[in-house]
């Protein structure tokens, strides 16, 4: 703690030379309005208020955007959606504005319109309309939040995403572990496995339609793939070998994984729909935890071929393997960021296990967390935040999120102890 304070102090003294953290963009989030009138209009305004509050909650989670508290009594007319009174929001200190409307349709569904404005310049930044089921207002709110976040920061929003993790309950031999999935705001929480077998490392397909994970059912760890809509499940490969560490390619067509052949762990790739695995590494050490670059042309992985776990980058066909970590510690569990700029990793050193980031060329290494029991980092779709697990001295684990800006890690609310988080891309 003291050290962190000192760091902040030093950064402050260093001034702009080291790039000060830009202040968050203040955004006004007035209540959504409705073109409907009468009883239906009131009903739509009520839905609009739900959406508005969800947008505020979404945006408040971010480091870059700061929403003004919406006031239910201060709502605007329908024509104002496309012609806002910018002077009013300027006076309130807002740099941006997200407005919109909810309209009932004859088929019982709703049209939700969202508009994002630059208040200073008085011009529209983005707009988008969605047709949703009457109970899907939360989804519409996430899409509005994403529209605003992307218009302001240029990065994909993380609101319409899912988080998978391993829920842990009980102690000792009686401990059960289940794969759990929830929306990134904690809603729609559900379990995918019953807890009879130990399960590990859930990993989403890019649009969160499928999930790969490791199960010890049958006595040996092996990768299984489950379809989240149908619940249908299958083994990733036909072979009986120990397989683990699955990770989808960014386009969802392939899955990287590790497989034991005798005493040797190597990296393989297999079509996501099933097929014959192709071997990508052949070193006699433990090669594992492979992750594609966003364009699918390269792969980062860990290998202990040189005597200790280190990060390596290779081409997608396995050629050109090159070590990139030289920081005097052990480096493991890498994942390439969705924007391609960074690779996150677990650093094992005298301080224990901590989460950090490094450029794909091996420069710019930075440690983001305090440890000593951190592992399993997973990028947000925005490439600005990372989920990871922290195991305490009592052996209990929780999931935390940390932003690249150096702010402190925050614990994610989960019903039970939680490990192995995975953060999906934006759903469609």
């Amino acid at each position: 703690m003291k050290r962190l304070f000192l760091l902040v102090l030093l950064l402050g003294l260093a001034g702009t030379a080291h790039g000060q953290q830009p202040a968050a963009t203040v955004i006004a989030v007035p209540p959504l309005t409705s073109p409907d009138s009468g009883a239906k209009g009131n009903q739509m305004l009520a839905v609009g208020w739900d959406v508005t509050q969800a947008i505020e909650t979404d945006l408040r989670q971010t480091a870059e955007v700061m929403p003004l508290k919406p006031n239910r009594d201060d709502y605007y007319s329908y024509p104002e959606v496309t012609a806002p009174t910018f002077s009013k929001w300027r006076a309130a200190g807002a740099k941006a504005l997200v407005t919109g409307f909810v309209q009932g349709r004859s088929d019982g569904r709703l049209t939700v319109g969202c508009y994002v404005y630059d208040v200073d310049k008085g011009r529209e930044l983005a707009r988008k309309g969605f047709i949703i089921g009457a109970n899907d207002w939360r989804r519409a709110a996430h899409k509005c939040s994403g529209l605003a976040y992307t218009a302001i920061t240029g990065a994909p929003g993380i609101f319409d995403t899912r988080i998978a993790y391993v829920a842990e309950s009980g102690v000792g031999e009686g401990r059960t572990r289940r794969i759990a999935v929830m929306d990134s705001d904690g809603q729609n929480h559900r379990y995918l496995t019953a807890g009879a077998a130990i399960v590990l490392t859930p990993r989403f397909a890019p649009r969160a339609s499928q999930l790969a994970y490791v199960s010890f059912a049958g006595g040996r760890p092996s990768v299984r793939v489950v379809d989240l809509d149908s619940g249908q499940e299958r083994p990733l490969i036909a072979a009986e070998a120990i397989s683990f560490a699955p990770r989808y390619s960014p386009d969802g067509s392939r899955i990287l994984f590790s497989m034991m052949l005798g005493a040797n762990s190597d990296i393989y790739v297999v079509p996501a729909a099933g097929g014959v695995p192709r071997r990508l590494t052949t070193s006699p050490g433990v090669d594992t935890d492979a992750s594609f670059s966003p364009d699918g042309s390269r792969i980062v992985f860990e290998s202990d071929r040189g005597g200790s776990q280190q990060l390596y980058v290779m081409n997608a066909d396995g050629t050109g393997q090159r070590r990139i970590s030289f920081g005097g510690a052990w480096y493991a569990a890498p994942q390439w960021s969705p924007d391609g700029e960074w690779i996150t990793f677990t650093r094992r050193g005298q301080e224990g296990r901590r989460i950090g980031i490094i450029k794909p060329d091996g420069t710019g290494e930075r440690v983001l967390t305090t440890g000593p029991g951190d592992d399993g980092a997973s990028w947000a779709a925005s490439s600005r935040e990372i989920l990871f697990q922290r195991t305490g001295a009592n052996g209990r684990s929780s999931v935390y999120r940390v932003a690249l800006d150096g702010s402190e890690s925050r614990q994610l609310a989960t019903p039970q102890d939680a490990s192995d988080p995975d953060w999906s891309g934006v759903m469609e």
Partner: protein, 148 residues
Amino acid sequence: MRKTLFALTLLLGAGAAEAQLPFLKKRTAQPQQPVLQGIDALRADFAAQAGGTTVYYGAESAILGAPAKTALGLQAAWLRRHPEVVVRIEGYGDSLDTRDHALAMGARRAEEVRSHLLLLGVPATQVSTTSWGKERPGLGRAVTILVR
């Protein structure tokens, strides 16, 4: 490197009674209940005569040391005397390790033990391997359960 030791446990049919029963039946044609009791007796006999069911590795190592090889020699001799017994070799990783590397290290250690047992003349059909990585409680507890 810290002198922590990590275990690799040789499991006599534990938790896999169903898997072994057909095998035992086929060879000995004994009824089920006595066979189950027999497994417990075999476990105790194995533990006693082989000097334990666990061999140890150094940190981050999958290389068998001299004490481990001595223990495996006794275990191999016992297994050759009991060709009807199938064993599963379960490897463990370091709790301080990252999850997937620990899983691979456990598998490597199990595989090294299997290879060594085969070298000492134990038929391949008698031994299978798996890894628990860092996913099971500490070594002491695991051993207690096995030799009970």
